[in-house]
Symmetry: none
DNA sequence: TATGAATGAGCGTTCATTCAT
DNA sequence: GATGAATGAACGCTCATTCAT
C-alpha cells in the first residue's frame, strides 16, 4: 500500500532511513509538521523514538529531505524527454500540464507535504527548496510565452495563466483520492485540455 | 492593517473576543493550528495567557469560531443578490467566480485558515463545517449544469470543471499578496474569464 | 436537606456568608480543601466567583471559620450541663461518649472537614484550632481517670483508652450515612456501651 | 528512614518506579492527592518533572498503584497463617486485630493514603480497590460471628462491632507516630484486648 | 453587595532531543 | 544500529485573587 511514497527516495539512503521518511510523509500529510511527534514518525516505521536520531539529526531535517527529494522528483517528472513536437506549443503545454498534474495526483500524499508544510523548514532550507520551486513556473512560462509569441495562443497575461495552471495541479493534493473516478493520467489529460482552453479562447472582456 | 480580518466577526461578540479571533487568524495562518500556542493568540491581542479562556473554552473552539464565521461570510458573499441576467449562464458564472475569488483574495489570511487548518477541529465540528462547505460546489454546479443544459456551454464533465474552478479560487490563498499586481476584484474578473473559457472551448481530444 | 450544616454558624454572620460556609463544607467534605476551587464554593451558594471575597478574605479563611465554629460546636455539645450523677463515672462516661459520637454522626459532613482537612490551614490557624482540640481528650481523660481512681473502672492505661474512644467517635465521619440503620443517638448509645466495656473488663493479658 | 514504605513495592517494579511510589506516598500523606504536584513526587525522588511519566502514565495511576499494593499488603498481613487455636475465637480475634493494627501503625504513612485519598481515583479504580477493601470487614465478621455462635462472645450486634474494631485500626493512621510510646506490636496487643472486651462484657443497657 | 473580566503563577502532561548501554 | 530512561522547555489549561463597575 502506498508504494508511491517509497519511489521518492533514492538508493543512496539506507532502507531504514527510507522507511522513516515514508512514515514521516504519512504523518506530516495527516497531522501536519507541528502536529506530528518524532514518536509518531519512528513508531510508524516500527522503531523506538530514539531510532530517528540515528538516521536524521532533527525532525526538521526529515522534513527537509522529504521536500528536497519530493521537489526533485516532481521536477524530473516534467523534465523527462518530451514526446511532443517542439513546434507545437499546444502539444507541449498539454504534455507539461499532464505530467505535472499526474505527478501530484500519484504522489498526492507526499505532495501535500511539499506544498503545505514548508513553514516547518529553517529559513536556510526554505531558500534551498525555493530555488527548486522557481523552476516550475519557469517551465510553464516558457511554453506559454512561446505559444503566444508564435500567435498560436491568445495573447494572455502569461504570469496570471501560469499561476492558474499551477493552482490546478497543486490544489488537487487537497482533495485527490486514488479510489476516486480519475486516475492520475486521466486527471492530467483533463487538466491539460483546460490549460489549452485557457490560452485558446477569445480573451475575456477587459479582465483587470 | 489587516482590517479585512475584523470584518468577519459579528456584533454579537465582545470586542476583546473579536480581537482574540483576529489574532488567532493571523497566528494560525502563519504557523498553523498546532504550531500556534494559546500564548501566541492572547499575546497577539495584548492580553495575558489566561485571558483567552475568559472568552473561549478551548483553543479548538477558537478555530471553530473562525471556521464557522469564515465559511458563512464566504457563502454570504457569493449568495448576494446577483446583477447578472438569470438567462445568461456565462454572466452568472462570471459573477459567481468573481465573487468567490475576490472573497478569498480579500480574506486570504482567514481563508488560509478555513481551507488548510480544519484538521484541528473535533470530528463534530468538522461535520458542522462540512455542511457549509458542501454549498460551494453546489452553487457552481447549478450554474454550469444550467449552461450545459441550455446548450450555451460545451458539454463538459460538470463535476471536474467545478473542482477546477474551486481550485483556482482556493489555491490563491497560498500565494496571494495584497501588495501584488492584482486587486481582489481584478483577480476575480480574470478567473471569471478563465472559468468561462473552460466551458466554452471545443472539448479536448478524448480527455479520460 | 442537610440543615445540620447550617446549625453550625452563629447569628453573627450574614446569611450569604453562612450560605458560603455551608457550600464550602459540602465541597471540602466531598473533594477536600485543595480539591475544591473558590468557584465551587461560590457556585454552590448560587453566587459568582468574586462573591466569596466580599465575605472572606481568602479560601483558607473559609476553612478556618468552618474549623473554628465546628470545633466550638462540638465542644459545646459535650459540655452541655450533664444529666448523669457526678458520682457515677460510668454514667458520666456514657453520657460523654454518647454526646461526642452523636455530634459527629449528626454533623458528619462538617466533621469530616474538621477532622481531615486541617492541613489546609496556616500554621497560625492550626495553633488556634489545636488549642480547642486539646479539650476533647481532656474531657475523656478526666472522667476515666476519675473512675479508675475511685476503683470503679479497671486500672487501664488512661491515655490509650482515651485515644481509642476518640477514634471511635472520629472515624465514623468516614463511613456514617444518615440513611443507614443507626440514628446519631443510637450510635452514641452503642459506642457509650463499648467505652464502658473498655474500662470494665478484666485487663487483657499483658498488653505491651 | 521510612524503610517501611519501600517494603510495599514488589520486585516487579524498577527501582526508580519504586522510588517514585515512595516519594508519592510521602507527598500524598503530607499534602493530600490534589495538594501534591507531579513535580513534588518526581522531585522527592531526585528526578526531573518529566521523569514521572517514564514510569507512570498519569498522577492518578501513581495513586492507584499505591492503593492497590497497599491494600494487598494489608490483606496479606492479616491473612498470614495464624498461630491461634482455631477453636478459640478470642485468640483468633486477638491475633486478627493485632495484625490489622500493627500493619496500620507500621505503615501509617502509606495507610493514610490508602484510607483517606481514594477520592483521587477514577471510578473504575475505586471499584477495583473497593473489591479488596470488602475483605477486611469480612475477616472480622467471620471471627466475631463464630464466637457469638459458639456462645463464647456476648451476643453483640456483629456489624456494629466490626465497624468499631476497624475504626480503631484505621483511625490510628491519623495520630500514630513511630517515636511515640507504643511500637506497632504493642498497640496491636492493646487494641486486641479492647476488641475482646467489646465482645466479652455484659451487654449495655438497651443500646439503640 | 455583587460581578464579569482579567491575570500571575502554576499544574498535569508532552515533546524533541540526548546518552549510556 | 538500536533503545530505554531521562530531561529542559514548553503547552493547553486552571486557579486564587483583584478590580473597575
Amino acid at each position: 500500500m502506498a508504494a508511491e511514497i517509497d519511489e521518492l527516495w533514492g538508493e543512496d539512503l539506507a532502507p531504514v532511513a527510507r522507511a522513516l521518511l515514508s512514515s514521516a510523509v504519512r504523518c506530516f500529510a495527516a497531522r501536519g509538521f507541528t502536529g506530528t511527534t518524532t514518536r509518531d514518525i519512528s513508531g510508524g516505521a516500527g522503531l523506538s523514538p530514539a531510532a530517528l536520531y540515528v538516521h536524521f539529526p532533527a525532525k526538521e531535517q526529515v522534513l527537509f529531505e522529504i521536500a528536497r527529494r519530493g521537489h526533485r522528483s516532481a521536477l524530473a517528472a516534467i523534465d523527462l524527454p518530451g514526446c511532443a513536437d517542439p513546434d507545437d506549443p499546444a502539444g507541449r503545454l498539454r504534455e507539461l500540464v499532464a505530467r505535472f498534474v499526474a505527478w501530484h495526483a500519484r504522489h498526492h500524499v507526499a505532495a501535500r507535504v511539499c506544498q503545505y508544510e514548508l513553514a516547518g523548514l529553517t529559513s536556510e532550507h526554505v531558500t534551498e527548496i525555493a530555488a527548486i520551486r522557481r523552476e516550475f513556473p519557469e517551465r510553464f512560462r516558457a511554453v506559454i510565452a512561446d505559444g503566444v509569441e508564435q500567435g498560436v495562443f491568445t495573447p494572455v497575461d502569461v504570469g496570471r495563466v501560469v499561476r492558474a495552471v499551477l493552482s490546478l495541479g497543486i490544489d488537487l493534493v487537497r482533495w485527490y483520492r486514488p479510489d476516486g473516478p480519475d486516475s492520475p493520467e486521466q486527471l492530467g489529460r483533463f487538466y491539460a485540455d483546460l490549460a489549452v482552453s485557457m490560452v485558446s479562447g477569445v480573451p475575456g472582456p477587459a479582465a483587470g
